[in-house]
Amino acid sequence: MSCTLGEVKNRADLIIYWGGNPAECHPRHFTKYTIMQKGKYVPNGRKGRTMVLVDIRETPSAKAADLFLQVRPAKDFETLTILRALIKGRRVDAAAVAETGLTLEQLEDLAHRMKTCRFGVLFFGMGLSMTRGKHMNSAAALTLAAELNAFTKFVTMPMRGHGNVTGADVVMRYTTAYPFGVSLSRGYPRFNPGEFSTIDLLVRGDVDATLVLGADPGATMPQPAIDHLARTPTIVLDPKVTHSSRLARVHITTAATGITAPGTVYRMDEVPLPLRPPLSGPYPSDEDVLKRIVAAVKRKPAWEPAGV
C-alpha cells in the first residue's frame, strides 16, 4: 500500500517517519515531497500537515516534528502491533504497553490520528527494517498501513537510500523475478535470502571472485565479508577511490553517472528519472565497461555443448 511521492505532496495531512532521520539522511525529503510542500489538496503546506517522528532517540529530525515519540530500542514490532490492536478497538495489555516506553495515552492518540486523518503516510527507515526483528518489523508496518485502509486512505513506503538501490531491485525483478539474493548457478534464477544474499555468500566464502558495481561493500559489510573480498579477486567499477577499491585486485575508473555519463535512476518510489550529464569526461560508463567484459567473455570457447 504505497504511492509515488507526489501523492504525499498533494494529499497527505498526516506524515509519520519511523526509525529514520530524514533531516540528515534524506535532506530533500521534507522540502521536496512531504511536510514543507504546498499540495493540490494541502494548500496551506506545512500548516495543513501533522508530522510525527517515532524513533529510539531524539535526532535532528525531531525539530521538524509536531510530535516526537521515543520508543525503547527493539520494541518497534511490539509498538506497531499494539497500534494495530488499538485501531481495531481491541483491549491491550498494560504490561505490553509499558515495555514500549510509551504511555497508553500516547499510543491511543497516535492511533486516533491515524484513523481520522484524510490521507496518512508512514515512512519507515533502516531503524525499523534493519534492527532486531528486521523483516518482521517491516511486515508489521505494512500490515498496519493495509489495515488502516478500512478507515481512511493510508500508505507506507520504505526510506531507501544508497544511490540507485531501487533501480537495481527493479531490474532484478523483471529479469529474474526476484529483487535480490538470486543465484543463477543452475542456469535459472533461484531466490533464497540468507543463502544467496551477498553478505552470506561472502562470509561463508562461497564465492571465488566478486564484481562490485555502484556500491562500497568494503565500507558497509561485516568484517568477515570484507576479509573474503580482500582474499579473492575483487573487481570494482567506481568513479572514485573507495574502501572497496582499495582492497580490490582491479579498480576500473568509470564515469560518474549523471555527471559525465547518462543513465536512469529510480527514486525510492520506483519512479524512473533520466540523468543527463552536464559534463564530458575521459572515463567510460559502467555500461560500456560491462559490455566490453561481456563481449570478451563471449569470445572465449563456450562451455555449453553445441545446439543447446
Partner: protein, 542 residues
C-alpha cells in the same frame, strides 16, 4: 526468403479457410512468389497468421510490483534455462521479460498489447518491453483518472483536453488510450470508489464516470487513433454489475470502444452468495452494437496474481481473501493494486467466472469482435491460452470440465446449454485477425501480400491444447524463430507508437500545472523516442 508449402492456410482476413497453398516470404513480408527460397514442408500442418494479444499485462511498474510480491509462486514456476540463445528467466504467473518473449513466441503469438501504462513510469515500461524479445509491442496509456484531464473535463474545456490527450499519448510513447474504472481510481486516492456511471467522484463536483467514458471515447475518435478507447468498465467483479456494463455501452453513444476483459463485467445476482452469469443479456446487447469490440478475460482454475489499475477493487479483494495486498498509487494519474489469487472450481463465484468467460466467447456471434484473452495474469497466465482454445473447440472436453462445477452453480450459468464449437478459422479470427484489426495494425493478423511475415505453423491434431502449445514453426518478421518445436533464433521485436496531431502550445499550458502538481521536472516527464526499442511511429491522418 522462405516458402511454406503444403500446409492448410487459415487466413480469415483474406477469406482463406483451410486451403492448401504456399505462403511466400521475402524481406520480412509476405510476397506473391519467391525464387530459390528455403522451403518449409508444412504438409499435415495448419498455417496461421501470428497471434496478436489485444490485452495483456507483461511489463511495467505494476506487473513488476507483482513479481516482487509472489516469490512463493515463482518457486513453482517453469525455469527458463540460460543457453547461448536464451537468457535465464522464469515462467509462472508473471514471467520475467525475456521469458515472456520466448513463451509468447513459443505458442505462435508475435504481437502483444501491454494494456496499462501510466505516463509517469512509462520509461520503465519501455525498459521492460525492450527486454521482451521476438514479439512486436504496443501499449495503452492510462487516462480515465488523469487529474489534468479530469480537471479539464470538469471545466468543460474539451478542445484543450483533446490536445492534452494527444500530447500525453506521444509523451508516454503509447499506441492507444486506456480507461480503468473511470473516476473510481481518482476517488480511491481518498479511499473511495465510483461504481455507477452517475456516482459522484470524490474530489470533483461536476463530472461523473459516465461523462468520462463518453468524453474519452469521443476524444479518441476525434484524434482518429487506430485503436478505439480501451475500456475497463466501472464496477468490475461485483455481483449484478451487468447493469453498469450495459449502461456503459449506451453511454458510448456510438463512439468506438474496446471493452476489456468482459468476463469481469457480466454478473447477475446481488451478492456473493447468489452471483450468477448474465452473459446472455450482455452478449445480446453487445451483438447489437457494431461500434464495440471486446476480449474475453477468461478465467482458468489455478493460482495466479491479479494486477490492475483498479485500486479500490483490489482493496475489496484483499478484504475478501485476507491474502497479501499491494497498492501503488501514481500521482495525478492512476492507481494500481496487486492481490495474489487462486481460482477454485469449488468456489461458486470462481465457477461462475470460469463459465462466463467461455459463455461470452460462445454467445457473441461475430468472432471479429470478441478476442481470446485471460487478461493475463488476472484470469490465468497467457501461456494457458491453448487450454481455452480446447474448451472452445471441444464440446466433450467442456462437458467433462463442467463435472467439477458444484451443482448449485450449474443453475446459475448457461454454459451447459451451449453446444457451439469453434472452428480453426474462427480460432484464427479471435487470436489474430480480429485483435489485429481492432488494434488498427493493418499489416498484422493476415497473410496477404504486404503483411508482416509473422506466421505460426501447427501440427494438425485432434488434441488442440497440445497443438497450440507447441507450434512446429514460428516465423517472426520473416525470421524462423521456432523450428521443429524448438527455439532456434531470438530476434528483436518492434515498438509501435502513435503520434496524434496536437497544438504544440499545449505544453505552455501543461508546464506550470505540472511543476505544481508533480514531483519531477516537466522536461523529464515524456519518454524520449530513443528509449523505445525498434520504434515505429504511426501518425493518424489529421
Amino acid at each position: 526468403m522462405l516458402r511454406i508449402t503444403g500446409g492448410k492456410v487459415y487466413d480469415p482476413a483474406n477469406n482463406i479457410n483451410g486451403e492448401v497453398r504456399d505462403v511466400c516470404i521475402s524481406g520480412g513480408r509476405v510476397v506473391a512468389a519467391v525464387e530459390d527460397a528455403r522451403t518449409i514442408d508444412a504438409t499435415g500442418m495448419v498455417v496461421f497468421p501470428g497471434g496478436v494479444d489485444v490485452h495483456t499485462h507483461v511489463a511495467g511498474a505494476a506487473l513488476n510490483f507483482a513479481r516482487g510480491l509472489i516469490p512463493e509462486q515463482h518457486r513453482q514456476a517453469a525455469p527458463i534455462i540460460h543457453s547461448r540463445l536464451r537468457r535465464a528467466g522464469l515462467g509462472g504467473s508473471t514471467p520475467t521479460t525475456f521469458a515472456t518473449g520466448y513463451l509468447y513466441a513459443g505458442m505462435g503469438w508475435t504481437t502483444v498489447n501491454e494494456a496499462a501504462v501510466p505516463i509517469l513510469s512509462a520509461k520503465h515500461t519501455h525498459e521492460e518491453l525492450h527486454d521482451t524479445p521476438i514479439v512486436d509491442k504496443t501499449c495503452c496509456v492510462l487516462m480515465a483518472n488523469n487529474e489534468i484531464l479530469l480537471d479539464l473535463m470538469e471545466a468543460g474545456e474539451w478542445e484543450r483536453a483533446r490536445h492534452v490527450m494527444a500530447w500525453q499519448v506521444w509523451a508516454a510513447k503509447a499506441y492507444g488510450v486506456k480507461a480503468v474504472n473511470p473516476g473510481g481510481v481518482a476517488a480511491w486516492k481518498w479511499g473511495k470508489d465510483a461504481k455507477q456511471l452517475s456516482d459522484p467522484i470524490a474530489g470533483y463536483s461536476n463530472i461523473t464516470p459516465g461523462q468520462i467514458v463518453a468524453g474519452l471515447a469521443r476524444l479518441v475518435d476525434e484524434l482518429k487513433l487506430p485503436h478505439p478507447l480501451h475500456l475497463h468498465c466501472n464496477n468490475l467483479g461485483a455481483p449484478g454489475n451487468v447493469t453498469t456494463t450495459l449502461e456503459t455501452m449506451k453511454t458510448l453513444e456510438g463512439n468506438r470502444a474496446h471493452l476489456a476483459h468482459l468476463q469481469y463485467h457480466a454478473y447477475g445476482g446481488d451478492d456473493w452468495s447468489n452471483i450468477s452469469s448474465a452473459s446472455t443479456t450482455l452478449a445480446d446487447a453487445f451483438n447489437a452494437c457494431p461500434n464495440l469490440t471486446t476480449d474475453a478475460g477468461a478465467v482458468l482454475f489455478g493460482n495466479t496474481v491479479t494486477v490492475t489499475a483498479d485500486g479500490p477493487w483490489q482493496h475489496l479483494l484483499y478484504q475478501l481473501t485476507g491474502k497479501k495486498w499491494a497498492n501503488l498509487d501514481v500521482e495525478n494519474e492512476t492507481g494500481c493494486g496487486v492481490v495474489p489469487y487462486a481460482y477454485k472450481p469449488g468456489s461458486p463465484a470462481n465457477a461462475v467466472q470460469w463459465a462466463v468467460g467461455l459463455e461470452l466467447l460462445l454467445l457473441i456471434t461475430d468472432p471479429w469482435r470478441v478476442f481470446l484473452t485471460t487478461d493475463h495474469p488476472n484470469g490465468a497466465a497467457f501461456w494457458r491460452y491453448p487450454e481455452v482454445i480446447r474448451l472452445l473447440m471441444d464440446l466433450d472436453f467442456r462437458r467433462e470440465q463442467l463435472k467439477a462445477i458444484p451443482d448449485k452453480v450449474l443453475k446459475r450459468i448457461i454454459l451447459p446449454e451451449l453446444t457451439r464449437q469453434y472452428t480453426l478459422s474462427e480460432i484464427a479470427v479471435i487470436t489474430s485477425a480480429g485483435p489485429a484489426r481492432a488494434l488498427g495494425l493493418s499489416h498484422k493478423g493476415h497473410l496477404g501480400v504486404g503483411a508482416d511475415a509473422d506466421v505460426a505453423v501447427y501440427n494438425e491434431s485432434a488434441d488442440v491444447a497440445h497443438m497450440f502449445s507447441y507450434p512446429r514453426y514460428v516465423i517472426k518478421g520473416g525470421e524462423v524463430v521456432i523450428e521443429e518445436g524448438e527455439l532456434r533464433n531470438v530476434v528483436e521485436g518492434r515498438g509501435f507508437v502513435v503520434k496524434p496531431a496536437y497544438d504544440e502550445t499545449v505544453e505552455g499550458y501543461l508546464r506550470p500545472l505540472f511543476q505544481q502538481h508533480y514531483t519531477m521536472s516537466f522536461d523529464n516527464y515524456p519518454v524520449a523516442p530513443e528509449r523505445v526499442h525498434g520504434l515505429q511511429v504511426v501518425e493518424p491522418a489529421p
